[in-house]
């Protein structure tokens, strides 16, 4: 006999906790949060820097402070959760399989599911950096966990490849713990992380940012000893005679995050190739009724505040679905991005309520105008791929159609 569950929340990071709290607050009692680690909070407990909650709470909090506000709510609302529990499979009919020490392998039939598994880091093998394969090469998030949870420095002389936010944050953390960060290396002509992190993490600590550079080889038998770097032209081709060697004992990779969607594939959700997550509408509804996706499992966000926001929506909508037991037939209008947009979320809209449209550009632009159909929905002086653009949209002003083009136009920003 397979037990039933009204609402299963997969993951207890910012998205999952916001969804669970929203669902419980809306009166759903039979909820369970599934968390594979030993504590609630996802990745936030290891993000001991500030910058969290500026939008959501109007306060500048650290990661642990931010997430504690939600874990406390989970405890107050007495929302059940399972720790050290890995959800290993979800069937297309919403049957969940999870594994832990106490219950072994268990099946549960869920009525509604919120997917909030977050994302994972791209490893070396996914970008194929040539060279030796010694110890001392690790991703920025792993380094953060080892430093800020376990309390160990991964090395003394560190080079960081990729200028994503976690890499920038870690450049500062390593420096504060006494390691020397030789350089942050970025192949593009502009950094991958937020502007504020470039200033606060690199400039303030005199850490060189080498734009238009890449690593051509890693050297070291047991442990990383040095790396070769080369300058790139605007087409990302190596410029002859610019190769040089830098000594280091550690290479930290901050080369991108990938939404972790193995369970979404298991459930045969329709996926978006641009975000590598399930497509959702403005209600966080996926292609399957009663299944919602929120946070970084949908697309990689810059700010936790946006993650919380989407988790909140997912939890609320899941509760509505559970209360009514049925959902109105979905009428989706597909949003089609123009070529300046790398991706947008939601991928489809349902006209129900005003919503926030998030989009990311393919390259930096100046004087950028954003339109949805023939309606102008925003203007930005300057946009870069590193910063997600949130835009408020009133769907009632949009003419109903099967699809609508979302476009951003502007002047290429070559600076």
């Amino acid at each position: 006999m397979v037990k039933n569950l009204d609402l299963a929340v997969i993951g207890s990071g910012a998205a999952g906790l916001a969804a669970a709290v929203a669902g419980a607050t809306a009166g759903i009692k039979d909820v369970c949060i599934f968390e594979r680690e030993a504590w609630l909070g996802g990745i936030l407990p290891q993000c001991i820097h500030t910058g969290f909650g500026v939008q959501y709470f109007n306060e500048n909090l650290t990661g642990p402070e931010y997430i504690t506000r939600f874990t406390e709510e989970v405890h107050q609302l007495q929302i059940p959760y399972r720790l050290n529990t890995l959800v290993t499979h979800i069937s297309p009919s919403k049957r969940i399989t999870y594994v832990n020490s106490e219950e072994g392998v268990t099946h549960l039939q869920a009525k509604a599911i919120v997917l909030a598994m977050g994302c994972r880091e791209r490893p070396r093998g996914a970008i194929t950096i040539p060279g030796d394969r010694p110890a001392g090469i690790l991703t920025a998030g792993t380094a953060q966990r080892l430093l800020d949870i376990d309390g160990y420095l991964p090395g003394r002389r560190i080079i960081i490849l990729g200028s994503g936010d976690i890499g920038l944050i870690m450049a500062r953390r390593f420096t504060m713990e006494g390691a020397i960060v030789q350089a942050v290396i970025e192949q593009l002509p502009y950094p991958g992380g937020l502007r504020r992190n470039i200033v606060q993490c690199l400039h303030d600590f005199n850490i060189p940012l080498l734009l238009n550079h890449t690593i051509t080889a890693i050297h070291g038998l047991d442990r990383v000893e040095h790396i070769d770097i080369v300058q790139l032209d605007s087409q990302l081709n190596p410029i002859p005679n610019t190769q040089r060697t830098m000594a280091c004992d550690t290479l930290v990779l901050s080369v991108g995050l990938i939404p972790e969607n193995e369970l979404s594939y298991d459930m045969q959700l329709q996926m978006s190739p641009s975000t590598r997550g399930p497509w959702i509408n403005e209600q966080c509804e996926t292609s399957k009724q009663g299944v919602y996706a929120c946070g970084n499992v949908v697309h990689v966000n810059d700010l936790v505040d946006h993650v919380t926001q989407s988790g909140h929506i997912a939890g609320k909508v899941a509760a509505k679905y559970l209360h009514k037991e049925t959902s109105p037939p979905l009428y989706h209008m597909q949003l089609i991005p123009n070529q300046n947009i790398r991706y947008l979320v939601p991928h489809r809209i349902n006209y129900n309520t005003p919503f926030t449209l998030y989009l990311r550009v393919t390259h930096p632009l100046r004087q950028a105008t954003i339109t949805l159909g023939n309606q102008v929905i925003g203007y930005r002086q300057r946009v870069t791929p590193s910063e997600l653009i949130p835009l408020s949209v009133d769907p009632t002003k949009i003419i109903k159609a099967d699809s609508i083009v979302a476009a951003i136009t502007g002047i290429p920003d070559l600076r």
Binding site: V99, V105, Y152
Partner: protein, 487 residues
């Protein structure tokens, strides 16, 4: 009792140790690395070749076909993964076709069973839907198989130990002692190990070991092979082990599915100067992609789905064939060197041959009264379906329900058992359990593995290594660490 030292714990040394352990002999296996399977064995394709490639009447050809027959039984006894999808050598031109006919003849001479030349492209497409449309024919060898070489070596070492073999790891043999033209023993930094016979299975370093015994008749010329490994999320796009038509130097870039379900392409074949040169290169990467997509064009669709690139070194001797040789002086020294491809395939047959050689030397070898032929694997919980065995396992040993490698679903219990069975490094754990072999490549499980390893062994966290030596994962604690006892 006659005592024997085997130098080198790769697939050859461990399988010889396992074979000799059946007899009344005092066998010591000495490995210079901190664990077995840390040399060429760790980065081998894993293919169990059918045996049509090698020139008839060579040592290689005989041992390959015999080895191929032994592998299914061996895999069953050691409880290691083994599949037999069969191989296809793909011809895309009339010259290729001629080569296939030559291979077929050679295979028949080598007594390879059930070889078949498929020259109907329709049948080929049915067997391999994603095969290049340029394929005109293929040589089908149903006996070609696939295994996991490092798991095989680890299992063979465990089984050998269970039958009384002494395993010494982390100690390089520095001298071979010869008295009156006869082997007397070997010395390592930790001491002297007496022996009547020494079997040199030192792989890449077999020429150095051989010269320690005064035999410098060959040298090892390392040949690097680079590979690309894909995420399991990439669907099964090949059903067989796919080879291009071989050249004189190599069997070419192979496209295949590993026993664990990952698509694997490679290896290249480049001579290298250094025996430790496991570096991957841009040229190698490009060659793999170019050659592999010639066989399976669909591979182009998964450029972002590789999870690891790595390379292994073939321990090729300048004499080209396998060297399995005994000597009058020093009496008792046996070289098993230059075991390049199809060395993995031949390994169990080589082990039997060494037994025969020793039998001739010593007179009739006496079998032990009780020999364990099978090895119990580390229990592996079924994580996506409910089965009673897994439930029993987790009830009795709850840590088998705590999954710490989310990509490969590896439990803490498996990691602990791997450590109890001898893993002392992260690579040692990885090769025994697959923790860290999935799509995140250890990003999430590394901190857990460090903790478990430290907790189980008492090693300080900062002394834990990837694979021994100076391959430390962490440099130092940021603050003095306090423990519960301090408060």
């Amino acid at each position: 009792m006659t005592s024997i030292i085997i130098i080198g714990g790769g697939i050859i040394g461990t399988l010889i140790a396992r074979e000799l352990a059946k007899y009344q002999l005092a066998v010591t296996l000495i490995e210079k690395e901190v664990d077995v399977a840390f040399g060429s064995t760790k980065a081998n394709s894993g293919i169990i070749h059918a045996g049509y490639d090698d020139q008839p009447h060579t040592v290689k050809a005989q041992l390959c076909v015999r080895g191929n027959q032994l592998w299914p039984i061996l895999a069953q006894q050691l409880h290691i993964p083994f599949t037999q999808p069969g191989s296809l050598v793909i011809a895309t031109s009339s010259e290729d076709y001629a080569s296939l006919e030559a291979l077929l003849q050679r295979g028949k001479q080598n007594r390879v069973p059930s070889l078949q030349l498929i020259d109907n492209p329709r049948i080929l497409t049915r067997r391999e839907p994603h095969l290049t449309p340029h394929a005109i024919a293929a040589l089908y060898a149903p006996t070609a198989g696939f295994t996991s070489p490092y798991e095989a070596a680890i299992a063979a070492a465990e089984n050998a130990q269970a039958n009384g073999v002494r395993l010494i790891r982390g100690q390089p043999v520095q001298r071979i002692i010869i008295k009156h033209g006869k082997i007397a023993g070997a010395s390592t930094p930790n001491g002297f190990w007496p022996a009547d016979y020494i079997i040199n299975t030192a792989g890449l370093n077999s020429d150095t070991i051989s010269s320690l015994a005064g035999i410098s008749s060959f040298s090892i010329q390392p040949v690097k092979g680079e590979y690309l490994l894909y995420d399991k999320q990439v669907p099964n796009i090949v059903n067989h082990i796919l080879f291009p038509v071989p050249t004189l130097q190599t069997k070419g870039i192979v496209v295949t599915q590993t026993v664990h379900g990952n698509l694997l392409v490679g290896p290249t074949a480049t001579a290298t100067l250094h025996k430790h040169d496991c570096a991957t290169t841009i040229a190698g990467h490009q060659e793999i992609i170019t050659e592999a997509t010639k066989l399976v064009p669909l591979l182009n669709q998964y450029p972002a789905q590789t999870i690891a690139s790595f390379s292994g070194i073939r321990a090729e001797a300048d004499t080209k064939d396998f060297i399995i040789a005994t000597y009058d002086d020093p009496y008792g020294f046996i070289n098993v060197a230059g075991i390049k491809s199809p060395g993995l395939t031949a390994a169990p047959a080589i082990a039997q041959q060494i037994t025969t050689i020793l039998n001739d030397y010593i007179g009739s070898l006496k079998e032990k009264e009780r020999v364990k032929l099978t090895r119990t694997p580390i229990p592996r919980p079924q994580t996506t379906v409910q089965d009673t065995e897994t439930m029993k396992l987790i009830t009795n040993r709850p840590r088998f329900g705590h999954l710490i490698c989310r990509c490969e679903h590896v439990s803490e219990g498996e990691v602990i058992e791997a450590i109890q069975r001898g893993a002392s490094t992260l690579d040692g754990i990885k090769y025994r359990t697959r923790a860290g072999m999935g799509r995140c490549q250890g990003g999430f499980c590394t901190p857990h593995l460090i903790q478990v390893l430290s907790h189980q062994t008492g090693m300080k966290v900062e002394t834990i290594t990837k694979r021994g030596g100076m391959s430390h994962i962490l440099s130092s604690p940021i603050k003095p660490h306090w423990s519960c006892e301090d408060t």
